[in-house]
Amino acid sequence: MAATDVSPTERCRRALRRAQLRLLSLGGRGDGVRGTVALASAHLLGALSGLLATGDVNAADLPEDRVDVMLHSFNGGGVDAWGPAILIRKNILGKVSLLGTYYADIVSNASIDVVTTASPYHETRNEFGFGADYAVRDSVLTFLASRSTEPDYIANAFNFDVSTETFSGMTTVGLGYTYGSDDVGKKGEGFFDHATHYRYRLGVSQILTPTWLANANFEVVSDSGFLASPYRVALVFGAAVPERLPGTRTSRTLQFRLIGEVAPTLSVRGEYRYFWDTWDIHAQNFGVGAAYRMGEKWLLDGYARYYTQNGALYFTNNATSETQYVTRNRQLSPFSSWTAGAKVTYALTGVPGRYQVFLNGALEYWKTDYSEFTDLRTGNLYSYSAVLSQVFVTVIF
């Protein structure tokens, strides 16, 4: 006599069973196409209801309470960006977990684009985020709103995600939606245009064995509006013209991840992602990593990542014909990039109360090589290396 009432998944399963029985009787009576389709659908519903029938009432866990205070920096390719970041998460009323984030980027930009076509600049970007996670039986609903402001760009985003545990908690299915609305501006001109973004995502996480976990994610991103940069210029017959890009872009991403514990103190992980969009960019990245627990207080992470993409249809280093759209944005050009990273976490002991305090340091080394984009100062293909670092304190309570 379980002391709990019926979960949404159980209700869904019963509804599917009722639909299945109705379809079966329809299939039995119908002839030809209609009958076969009804029977086939009935079989499919049977399989679906089986997936949902767990017999248990599961409830998902809310993320734990924590505070992270970080100092991050990026140095490379002529760009120096650093800033503080904070994350605060607190569970209130037992069913809701609130989240607040602040992220600042203080940028000194003398990158290749800036140096060859404009003049170096300094600028600060601030980003605030506020969210809530709400547990409803075996699902977690996540709402997140964020706003990022720079002197010439404001980006607002609203996210909604639902994550449900099924199959006795062995499978987690997530659906998500994001709406983004940006104001695009230019120094000296103010805000003159908009960009809108829609994101739809589906993710599945599956427990394979007591020590192996796999997941797959699919995301569609759809942009419309002013998608170019008002500062960036393209080269057409050697002359600089403002870049011209389509007003829409749709992309799809498929990512697979695998993580497993090969020893009580060592886990390994791997990922593969494939990206393709309507601007004809195809990109892939491969990643491998390992995490090692040393003694009682140390956690060490190491990983490597390889990213490669081909250029967008509209990218050209120096156009030799007049086209409707043209861009010299190196982000949209063919290139490959290597990243190697490490993170160290130290658990502080002797902390009073129920607090766990961790000191962390993370470092990433990047090397990017462009295969068509050139450094205008030398005429050679451009490449650069960068270092990304983070130091942060985490308190879990």
Binding site: A3, L51, D56, A59
Partner: protein
């Protein structure tokens, strides 16, 4: 033609209410072995927990309160821990101030015997050794249901 699988796959509990609670003997944190059958005559709450299980940790203080409230009337709690490392269990038991017997099921034999479908799992056993109530998981408010059911079983 209408050969279809029900696709139910429902997991029926091996432990159904009114079945006799399967007997077991497990070592306790204090040392001596404890046998379930020897608790006959008392109302027993068997709670399966682990240090890595969040809801288990939230539930523990409530079980402590119920233990203090009803132990004089013939009620006891057997907290069966399933951690691979009993030291972690001892540490957390100390931290949470668990006053009732903590039993160690490191090889998961009793967990399999009771066919646990969720963590935590709570079984209320009456004075005759029969399982009367089964609770899967823990959510806010369960402790009130436990209170009511314990009182009912004690009155018998």
């Amino acid at each position: 033609m209408a050969v279809f699988a029900l696709g139910v796959g429902a997991t029926l509990a091996a432990i159904t209410p009114s079945a006799g609670a399967p007997d077991f003997t497990l070592p306790s944190l204090d040392g001596p072995n404890l046998r379930l059958r020897e608790q006959r005559g008392q109302v027993v709450m068997i709670n399966f927990w682990a240090t890595w299980c969040g809801p288990c940790r939230v539930e523990m203080p409530h079980l402590g309160r119920l233990y203090d409230k009803y132990r004089g009337s013939g009620f006891t709690v057997l907290a069966v821990n399933i951690d691979e490392d009993p030291h972690k269990a001892a540490q957390l038991a100390r931290q949470l101030g668990m006053r009732f017997p903590v039993l160690l099921d490191t090889d998961k034999k009793v967990s399999r015997l009771y066919d646990l479908g969720t963590m935590p799992s709570t079984f209320l056993v009456d004075r005759d050794g029969r399982v009367r109530y089964v609770h899967r998981g823990y959510r806010d408010g369960y402790e009130d249901t436990y209170d009511r059911q314990i009182r009912e079983l004690l009155r018998e």
